[in-house]
């Protein structure tokens, strides 16, 4: 690698060197080159100065009223979320309990009753589906009553 190529490589590594993001070998290459190259040393010092100033920049503080309002909004939502969790868990438990009671009931339907029920439910669902499809395919022209 020629000195010019090393110079070019190092100048591209300076930014990451400053941030400590290079491998050990790369860092060593940059360190050695910086000892001999005034141009790269100057560039490195400028980068350091730049990052120092950037770190010291001041920015506006967040508006306190709006931050407090945000906290209030979140605090209102927190119990609501847990309310949903408890509600869903409670309903699931109730469903399981009702199923167990139903199955253990002496009047629980026989297998034949269940098959007949499934067929009936299937017919009803098919009928409703066809009905819905027909309804969706009907021409819905809101101006159809207007004489042209």
């Amino acid at each position: 690698v020629s000195p010019a190529e090393t110079h070019e490589n190092v100048s591209r590594l300076l930014s990451a060197y400053l941030d400590g993001e290079l491998t050990q070998a790369e860092s060593q290459l940059v360190r050695v080159h910086l000892e001999d190259c005034a141009e790269c040393r100057e560039a490195y010092e400028e980068l350091r100065a730049l990052t120092r100033v950037a770190r010291e920049l001041d920015f506006p503080e967040p508006p306190e009223e709006r931050m407090a309002e945000l906290e209030r909004r979140i605090s209102v939502r927190a119990p609501r979320r847990f309310g949903w969790i408890f509600l869903i868990a409670g309903l699931a438990a109730l469903l399981v309990y009702a199923l167990i009671r139903w199955i253990s009931d002496p009047d629980f339907p026989t297998t034949a009753d269940l098959i007949a029920g499934a067929i009936a439910v299937g017919f009803v669902l098919l009928f409703l589906s066809v009905l819905r499809q027909r309804w969706l395919e009907l021409p819905h022209d809101r101006y159809r009553r207007i004489k042209r």
């Binding site: 591209r12 300076l14 930014s15 990451a16 941030d19 993001e21 560039a43 400028e46 980068l47 100065a49 730049l50 990052t51 100033v53 950037a54 770190r55 010291e56 920049l57 001041d58 920015f59 506006p60 503080e61 967040p62 508006p63 709006r66 931050m67 407090a68 945000l70 906290e71 209030r72 909004r73 979140i74 605090s75 939502r77 927190a78 119990p79 979320r81 847990f82």
Partner: protein, 180 residues
């Protein structure tokens, strides 16, 4: 306040979850607002973005990935919101001065006096960088994130982060020249 929930009203597990969220909210709200400001250049937009980001974090809190650092998660939400906002309108026309003017509507002379000319020039130069270079520079030099964390926030590779940061700093050096 998040602390308005009486401890006895919620179960221990729930209290722990909310307590952790509250803690992170308080430790990150200022940084989040600053990052939003640095992306939008506008206090009003920055506050809107901060609010939406925290509401989203809270909404998805129970489904969060514990292996992902909170800062990276929060900043990536803010970044996405800022991109959406920019798509809706040209935010460049609405940038406030961060360093010299604390409040966009009523400049504070005392505050102005305290700011050095160099800081103002540096921020102006950062503001003129292309968006992708500006966000990387802001995350590294102002927020102190590592390259890996920046890659998580921006969705870019480490090599891209490195390259964007290098290009951004080169542009700043060229622009600021001897001021540094």
């Amino acid at each position: 306040m998040m602390g308005t929930l009486a401890p006895a009203e919620v179960p221990i597990a729930v209290r722990g979850e909310e307590g952790e969220f509250t803690q992170l909210f308080h430790s990150h709200k200022r940084k989040a607002f600053h990052f939003a400001f640095q992306l939008t250049g506008n206090r009003e937009d920055a506050m809107d973005l901060t609010q939406e980001a925290f509401l989203r974090v809270h909404r998805h809190w129970s489904r969060r990935d514990p292996s992902r650092p909170f800062t990276a998660w929060l900043y990536s939400i803010l970044r996405n919101l800022a991109i959406d906002l920019k798509r809706q309108r040209d935010s460049r026309t609405n940038r406030e001065q961060a360093v010299a003017v604390e409040d966009g509507s009523t400049p504070n002379p005392e505050h102005l006096a305290r700011q050095t000319q160099l800081k103002t020039r540096v921020w102006d130069a950062i503001n003129q960088l292309p968006d992708q270079q500006r966000e990387v520079l802001v995350l590294r030099d102002i927020h102190g994130l590592s390259y890996a964390e920046i890659a998580q926030v921006t969705g870019a590779t480490l090599a891209t982060v490195n390259s964007r940061l290098h290009d951004a700093r080169q542009k700043l050096r060229q622009k600021l020249g001897r001021c540094l």
